[in-house]
Symmetry: none
Subunit: 238 residues, 2 copies
């Protein structure tokens, strides 16, 4: 008398179908057996089959079309990671030569606006040059309000071995919650062109990092040369 735990039948049906999709037995675009056929094959009620199919549809494995059938979409890829330059920059460990400059400067207008402070308020600017294969591949500047930088090492020129995000969390319990990122194409500034060694167009990234309450923790601005960077994104069509 110990059947132990038999999973519910609708789950068994789901699992079977998932396995067949992963095995390629049901290929993307194929029509699944109809509900009636599945009812016969698994010897369960239609309610059960429908529940399995509807759950699979909600999870993105299949698509159901009224009057036509159910069709395989494939393994629902976990949100195909979009490229997120803004976040990546704060996660990176800083190498010995990457930090070129840490200054206390008056905030330029567009940075001040994003930080939510008055223009020309003093802020910490932490500039880095990312390298790939020895050649400079991006110029990044992190802007911190003074209150945030206070008591941390982001205003010191030494590289942060575990990245900015880790550091802020460790010493001040500041937790990143979400990032707003704006992206455009522009020519590099004279300074950026010098650091990059090229005047070609760049992807200009402007990212604002917020905590859970919505306060701005820092702003990141970057110039990614267009001939070295390509941002890729894959997404489902509704």
């Amino acid at each position: 008398m110990s059947m132990d735990f038999a999973p519910p039948k609708y789950a068994q049906v789901m699992k079977a179908i998932q396995q067949r999709i992963e095995a390629g037995e049901y290929a993307p675009g194929d029509m699944l057996p109809s509900e009636t056929q599945l009812v016969r094959e698994f010897a369960v009620g239609r309610t059960t089959v429908v529940r399995a199919l509807q759950t699979l549809a909600m999870q993105g494995w299949i698509e159901r079309e009224h009057g036509r059938g159910s069709f395989v979409k494939g393994r629902p890829d976990s949100p195909p990671d979009r490229v997120r330059p803004g976040l990546a920059v704060t996660e990176q460990a800083e190498g010995a030569e990457s930090v070129t400059e840490v200054e206390r400067v008056a905030a330029p207008r567009h940075i001040a606006r994003l930080l939510g402070v008055a223009e020309r308020t003093p802020v910490i600017a932490r500039r880095r040059v990312a390298k790939q294969g020895g050649r400079p591949s991006a110029v990044e500047t992190l802007w911190f309000p003074l209150e945030i930088a206070l008591g941390t090492d982001v205003d010191k020129p030494e590289p942060l071995r575990h990245g900015v995000r880790q550091h802020l969390q460790a010493v001040k319990h500041l937790r990143f919650d979400h990032v707003t990122e704006r992206l455009t194409a522009r020519n590099p500034t004279k300074e950026e062109a010098e650091l990059l060694g090229s005047p070609k167009p760049v992807l200009g990234v402007l990212a604002t990092v917020h905590d859970a309450a919505g306060s701005v923790l820092l702003v990141m601005s970057a110039a990614l040369p267009g001939d070295l960077h390509e941002l890729q994104d894959v997404y489902q069509v509704s």
Copy 2:
């Protein structure tokens, strides 16, 4: 006798409960009325109530505990929308003057590779100039393999009033499934610069539209002037 469209009952029950949660009538942590009570209140079968509650649970509105009841969690936060230039282009209705050129041409190498055909295979190129406030704001080219274009109007210079996606679905049952999009910064080609009336750097978008089986339906390439376009993205930090 024209009830027009009554939404399904389970959806009505869901909506009612959602509204009560948003109105604060059911506060987070509260226990919802039991299934039996809801059956009486809405005068529907238990199947219907259960389906509504299970869907709400999957969407994160409530939590269900076996043997105890259903409990309010609150409004689920939805993942914020991302910008998708690739898809937008295929949804747009085409205006009278936007389509400037429709040609049968030999596929350039990078387009041929994305379409999965040999270089210099003939393909249909459909070029459009998007305008905003009378000024050209983007140059977009849609590339179709001949098999796809066959029997459709995408190879005719007349504007498609309902957009390319609608058209392909209507006349050939082609359904878009997902889009792969690559983005970079570059200088406009001579032709693009002329059409745009400016030599400033552009965001280069290269999007590939696939069906459920992964086959490529079309490729879209576009030049978005950096001084007119800014792509914004908001995302949660895990």
